[in-house]
């Protein structure tokens, strides 16, 4: 009973944070609302019994990724966004659309889905259980995802390294204009 109350409480905080994320006009406040959403999702995982997932959610999303969001906002010094009047079409079609979509998804999940419902606290979230799933049943997707992330890292490094800096490192300060262009086009080797 107590767990159910807590579950509903954190669910409400999660939805509230998500709505606040959209309603705030300052990027910093929106980012902080997103942290609240992540944190309350972690609490929901914890209440369901998946404590490892909850800890990872906090460490990776709330503790690392959102810090990078925050650094970006602080570096760009993004100010308040300007309010527009909003469009009447969006309100007339969008709000009923969201409501109908939400009701449909809920109804399908409740009545037309094969997935069994899990009582609170009954999920098996032990680190060893998750490790067994990841390294036996889902080994291939797990490894493919890590390769995908590696490729993304390499892409980011290539995009972030400036050609002028590379030319200066290789040819000194007096690198002629042609050499720089050559380095920029990647034909210097």
């Amino acid at each position: 009973m107590f767990h159910l109350i807590l579950f509903l409480f954190f669910g409400a905080i999660c939805v509230g944070g998500a709505v606040n994320l959209l309603a705030q006009s300052h990027p910093i406040n929106s980012a902080l609302s997103l942290i609240v959403v992540m944190g309350s999702l972690a609490a929901e995982y914890l209440l369901l019994g998946a404590e490892f997932l909850a800890a990872i959610q906090v460490i990776v999303y709330a503790g690392a990724i959102m810090v990078l969001f925050l650094i970006t906002i602080m570096l760009l010094n993004a100010g308040k966004e300007e309010r527009t009047k909003g469009s009447r079409v969006a309100i007339l079609i969008g709000v009923p659309g969201v409501l109908i979509g939400g009701v449909l998804v809920t109804w399908t999940l409740l009545h037309r889905s094969d997935m069994p419902s899990v009582p609170i606290g009954a999920l098996k979230g032990d680190p060893s259980d998750i490790a067994r799933l990841l390294f036996h049943q889902f080994l291939l997707p797990f490894e493919v995802t890590s390769v995908l992330i590696l490729i993304a890292i390499m892409g980011a490094v290539v995009l972030a390294s400036r050609p002028e800096a590379i030319a200066r490192r290789h040819y000194g300060d007096e690198a002629p204009e042609e050499t720089r262009e050559l380095v920029a086009s990647g034909k210097d080797h």
């Binding site: 942290i35 404590e51 490892f52 800890a55 906090v58 460490i59 709330a62 503790g63 690392a64 602080m74």
Partner: protein, 346 residues
């Protein structure tokens, strides 16, 4: 144990631990001032109480009575929230730290000397400390001051970078113990080699991991030689330039509470926690493990102060390069080596 006794015991334990932690924070400041003074051939605080022992109380009173300035150009909601965030996360992380064995309480049953024992205790500590960076980052941003902003940016970049090597340096210990529970990790370090060398992880193949952890921990708590976020010669005081009175004291408390937590974690992971020689009557056998634990934590706190007054500050590019190009590869090598040894022995 009934639910009422459980709640009462939990409340008593929490109050005691937080009380001890806050006292430890106050007296680490005294220790820092005293040790730094003696390193520089001065006396340090001597006026208030014997050996200046009441100086932390006097400082606390002074912080309360100082004028609490709020500059007109700050972004108020976050300016006020930032020190609270910093201090709350710094104090919360002590909640899963075990500092002793099971104690019998007669008719009430018994309890572990730990606020709560969770099977992912290590991850909880890492998660909570990783949230602490928001206090510093938001303080820097909301102060609306270029020095504060630079301090906040430096702090968040530095803490995110060093968190990686800090977390990876602990993986070796986790592989050896086969658990994320801090109590199991400590229990795995009981006993001795060849009759006299304790079976602590630092003597048991994790020496490299220990030094990586130690260095990353200094950076994670923004202490010299990694105190770039508040480098006074370049940034005035970094992220807390605009703070005064109790709000400043909260950042101060958060820094020292983080130091205590990091020292506790080092003790648990590498120095065998509360294990040590035990002698004497049964009543002492309950207390001695806690004393061993406190002694080891005190050693780390002293080391912190010693290092601060010995080493000069890093340059910012050196700091980042050191994390990503030296500590991270070493930590990964440590994991691979430990995993290989454990796998071959199994």
């Amino acid at each position: 144990m009934s639910i009422t006794t459980f709640i009462i015991i939990s409340i008593i334990k929490s109050a005691a631990v937080v009380g001890v932690l806050l006292t430890a924070v106050a007296y680490s400041v005294w220790l820092e001032r005293k040790v730094s003074a003696h390193i520089q051939n001065r006396w340090g605080p001597t006026r208030v109480g014997p050996f200046g022992l009441l100086q932390p109380l006097a400082d606390g009173v002074k912080f309360i009575f100082k004028e609490d300035l709020t500059q007109p150009h700050v972004y108020k909601p976050l300016y006020i929230a930032a020190p609270i965030i910093a201090v709350v996360f710094a104090i919360t992380s002590i909640s899963v730290i075990p500092f002793g064995n099971w104690v019998e309480l007669g008719r009430l049953g018994g309890t572990y000397l730990q606020i709560t024992d969770v099977n992912i205790g290590l991850l909880v500590v890492l998660g909570i400390t990783s949230m602490g960076v928001y206090g510093v980052a938001l303080a820097g941003w909301s102060s609306n001051n270029k020095y504060s902003l630079l301090g906040g940016l430096r702090a968040s970049a530095q803490m995110v970078s060093y968190e990686v090597s800090l977390g990876l340096s602990l993986v070796g210990v986790v592989i050896m113990a086969g658990s994320l529970s801090l109590r199991t990790i400590v229990d795995a370090q009981a006993g001795v080699f060849w009759g006299f060398i304790p079976r602590w992880n630092i003597f048991h193949g994790q020496t490299l991991g220990f030094f990586i952890y130690l260095i990353s921990a200094y950076a994670e708590t923004n202490r010299t030689p990694f105190d770039l976020p508040e480098a006074e010669s370049e940034l005035v005081a970094g992220y807390h330039t605009e703070y005064s009175a109790m709000k400043f004291a909260m950042f101060f408390m958060a820094e020292y509470a983080n130091m205590v937590t990091v020292a506790c974690l080092a003790t648990l992971m590498f120095l065998g926690g509360w294990h040590g020689p035990i002698a004497g009557p049964p009543i002492l056998e309950d207390i001695e493990p806690v004393l061993w634990f406190c002694l080891k934590v005190f050693f780390f706190m002293f080391l912190y102060v010693w290092v601060r007054w010995t080493l000069p500050r890093f340059r910012y590019d050196q700091l980042m390069a050191f994390s990503w190009k030296v500590l991270l590869p070493l930590a990964i090598a440590n994991i691979v080596y430990t995993a290989l040894v454990v796998a071959l022995r199994a």
